[in-house]
């Protein structure tokens, strides 16, 4: 690097100066020196110049040396004429030494530069690999790769991936100023087609203002990276190109892995969705068929000779229809919520709510179901607002209360309480029923789980799974405990996080 920074004339000046110095020294001591000694000194000058400077300076040193030697020290003195042919050989040796030395030093210099470049490349590759390992997701990785390529190329870089399908078409060049240039598009096209770099700094389509490097893994081509050096120095040296190619190869390996992982995840989701669909279908057919049969039976007996039925029977039948249809509505609501939770399509729209209000809606809605169960609520007056999606949290309360009503003997109390615990609000719905069987504390939250004692009862076994999904979507946790006094206590936490609420405006009495 220092070599290139020094202008060439310095080398020539040094050559001339050293030859002059050698001539002066030899002239002073000429009475004691043999001609061969003088020749050796000039040779030393040539070697010295050749080892430090470029070929031109070395040749100049040898030519000047030969001329001075001939002029001053070779008889006839002070002419360029040479009488003894042996001196011609000396001249030849001097010239040859200059050439050989220059070549040798040049090679050493190139090797040193190569080593330095290799080291830089290794560092760049290492950095990219390390950062790629810490980066997840295709988009983030591409951004990272573009940043590294841009830095190595001294300008900007764009990564374009081909269609994801196994043998989809080539990459589609994105809109943007970079790809407006036809030459850049052609170069990128070559790079994709041939799997070799094209464009600026290569033999192919060199007129492009950017270099296109293919992104390929061992198995397949992934896309193209286009690197455009900044306008100030729009060149790509061989070393830089090799660095860019190295980076592109490394990037391709990482991208390939990410793409494969994405595809696996996709496949896994599809399998999961398929399983859910099957489970939902069987649940639908079983859990809807029962209330449907009841509704049909009750309605048809109402229609069939209604005059013969006593009034209270007619009323009973109508009530059955109403009750069963409500049950079906609850089931359908839960099934829909289940699909949302499972497919990750659960859009949580959080806003700061008083728990009391959400609980109130659920309590009113379940009034008939809760029937003989006295429900006590214990919400401290200073309980803060909680950031929740009111409709989803209502579903949690509905499911927990409905469960409690379903699995506990009539007349047993249900208690809902809440308190603040560090940065969470914790809510508990506790009943005094048989409780959750030991060891089933996790299983109850599993899809389609049914309590062993209620095998016959209706319910899709989805309620608690949905609760867990909804609470998780709020960043909280739900679990069941068996309090010492018996019964089951479902406890869930809701983090008090999110943008703070604006303070309420003053509300003072004017009086």
């Amino acid at each position: 690097m220092s070599e290139e920074a020094v202008p060439p004339w310095r080398g020539y000046l040094e050559a001339a100066g050293l030859v002059g110095l050698a001539t002066a020294v030899c002239f002073v001591f000429r009475s004691r020196l043999q001609a061969t000694d003088v020749a050796m000194l000039y040779l030393l000058v040539v070697v010295a110049v050749a080892s430090r400077r470029r070929l031109g300076a070395a040749v100049l040193a040898s030519v000047l040396g030969i001329a001075a030697f001939d002029f001053v020290f070779v008889p006839p003195y002070y002419t360029f004429a040479v009488h003894n042919a042996a001196y011609v050989l000396t001249f030849g040796v001097m010239l040859a030494v200059a050439l050989v030395m220059s070549r040798l030093t040049a090679r050493i210099r190139t090797q040193a530069e190569d080593a330095r470049e290799r080291e830089e490349r290794t560092v760049a590759l290492y950095q990219l690999s390390r950062e790629l390992a810490d980066t997840e997701g295709r988009g983030n990785q591409i951004a990272l790769i573009e940043r590294h390529l841009a830095r190595a190329g001294g300008g900007e870089a764009v990564v374009v991936l081909a269609d994801d399908s196994p043998d989809g078409g080539g990459p589609e060049w994105p809109a943007g100023e970079l790809f407006e240039s036809v030459a850049v598009r052609v170069a990128a096209g070559w790079a994709w087609k041939l799997g070799e770099s094209a464009g600026l700094g290569t033999a192919r389509c060199a007129e492009a203002e950017a270099l296109a490097v293919p992104l390929r893994s061992a198995a397949r081509r992934l896309g193209v990276a286009v690197v455009r050096p900044s306008a100030a120095d729009r060149t790509v040296g061989d070393g830089v190109r090799r660095t860019l190619e190295g980076l592109a190869d490394r990037a391709a390996v990482a991208l390939e892995r990410t793409l494969l992982a994405e595809r696996h995840e996709q496949a896994r989701l599809e399998v999961e969705a398929e399983r859910l669909r099957n489970a939902l279908l069987s649940s639908l057919s079983h859990d809807l068929r029962t209330p449907l049969a009841t509704v049909e039976g009750a309605a048809s007996s109402l229609l069939h000779r209604p005059d013969t039925l006593p009034v209270d029977v007619r009323r009973d039948l109508a009530e059955t229809i109403l009750e069963e249809s409500r049950r079906m509505a609850r089931l359908v609501a839960n099934l829909l919520a289940m699909v949302k939770v499972e497919t990750g399509g659960l859009a949580v729209q959080k806003s700061w709510q008083p728990l009391e209000e959400v609980l109130g809606v659920a309590l009113l809605r379940l009034e008939d179901r809760l029937g003989s169960h006295p429900v006590t609520t214990l919400l401290p007056a200073d309980l803060p607002l909680v950031p929740v999606d009111e409709l989803l949290l209502e579903q949690v309360f509905l499911n927990l209360l409905d469960n409690a009503a379903k699995h506990t003997p009539p007349g047993t109390p249900i208690a809902v309480s809440a308190w603040v615990e560090s940065r969470d609000v914790v809510v508990e719905v506790a009943d005094r029923g048989p409780g959750v069987p030991a060891g089933a504390e996790e299983a109850v939250f599993r899809k389609f789980y049914r309590a062993p004692s209620t095998e016959h009862s209706v319910g899709a076994g989805l309620g608690l799974t949905i609760c867990r999904g909804i609470i998780a979507a709020h960043g909280g946790r739900i679990r069941v405990e068996s309090p010492p006094g018996g019964g089951a206590a479902f406890r869930f936490s809701l983090p008090l996080e999110g943008p703070p609420v604006a303070a309420l405006p003053a509300d003072r009495d004017e009086s």
């Binding site: 829909l336 008083p354 809606v361 009113l364 607002l385 604006a502 405006p505 003072r508």
Partner: protein
């Protein structure tokens, strides 16, 4: 029901639902005209000048919101929106556009009839009529002239904001009022997004006016939509 028999326009695309509603309403002495599409519904609304419109939000040929908007452009006919659970955004949209109330399917007939009664009663009051001087439901009495709130005959002290909130609900008694409308009426146009104001003051009101604030009888929550001050106890 005093006066002539009200004419109800029923815009609903599902035949069973339409049949059930029409039968029920006729049994309760309403005149009913039916429409299965938004186009037909709008034509009927313009041609027959109904007293009330029941509008399903899930019509095949147009967004329910657009129908509500088109009706509102020409008339003050009360609109009650029918929709499925989960369509809260649409309901709120329709209500903010000027629909009077909504019912979430499935709903019971008593609920439907109550909503219709309230909507018809509000429509019967001329727009320029002087506001009611007082409001009474259950053991609650609100004297809008003296700005007095009484429960069991004894005065309840409300803060100015609490009173404004209650008065706004009284103006729409029996009908749902969206969060946005309430915030606009009580705090002003700049505060329509601050729903937590509303929730805090509503909780305070309930603690002062309801025997059991977790089971409100008067100040009902309409989840995801707004609040309703009941004008008759269930």
């Amino acid at each position: 029901m005093a006066g002539p028999v009200p004419l109800v326009l029923l815009i609903e695309d599902e035949p069973q639902m339409r049949r059930f509603l029409a039968l029920t309403l006729r049994a309760h002495h309403y005149h009913v005209i039916e429409a299965a599409t938004a186009r037909e519904g709008l034509a009927q609304a313009a041609g027959r000048n109904p007293d009330l419109i029941l509008l399903d939000l899930g019509l095949p040929d147009a967004e329910g919101l657009d129908v509500a908007r088109a009706v509102r452009r020409n008339s003050r006919t009360p609109i009650i929106v029918l929709s499925a659970r989960g369509q809260e955004q649409d309901k709120v949209g329709a209500l903010d556009l000027g629909a009077d109330d909504y019912l979430t399917k499935p709903f019971g007939v008593p609920e439907l009839l109550a909503r219709m009664r309230v909507a018809l009663r509000h429509a019967a009051v001329p727009a320029d009529a002087p506001p009611e001087a007082s409001f009474e439901v259950g053991d609650l009495r609100v004297d809008l002239v003296r700005r007095q709130v009484l429960r069991h005959g004894s005065e309840i002290h409300l803060t100015p904001t609490e009173y404004r909130l209650l008065a706004a609900l009284v103006r729409h008694a029996g009908r749902v009022v969206t969060h946005r409308q309430l915030l606009h009426e009580v705090w002003g146009a700049n505060f329509v997004e601050q729903t937590h104001y509303l929730r805090v003051y509503m909780a305070q009101l309930r603690h002062k006016l309801e025997p059991d604030p977790t089971r409100p009888r008067l100040l009902a929550t309409e989840p995801g939509v707004g609040y309703r001050l009941r004008d008759e106890l269930p």
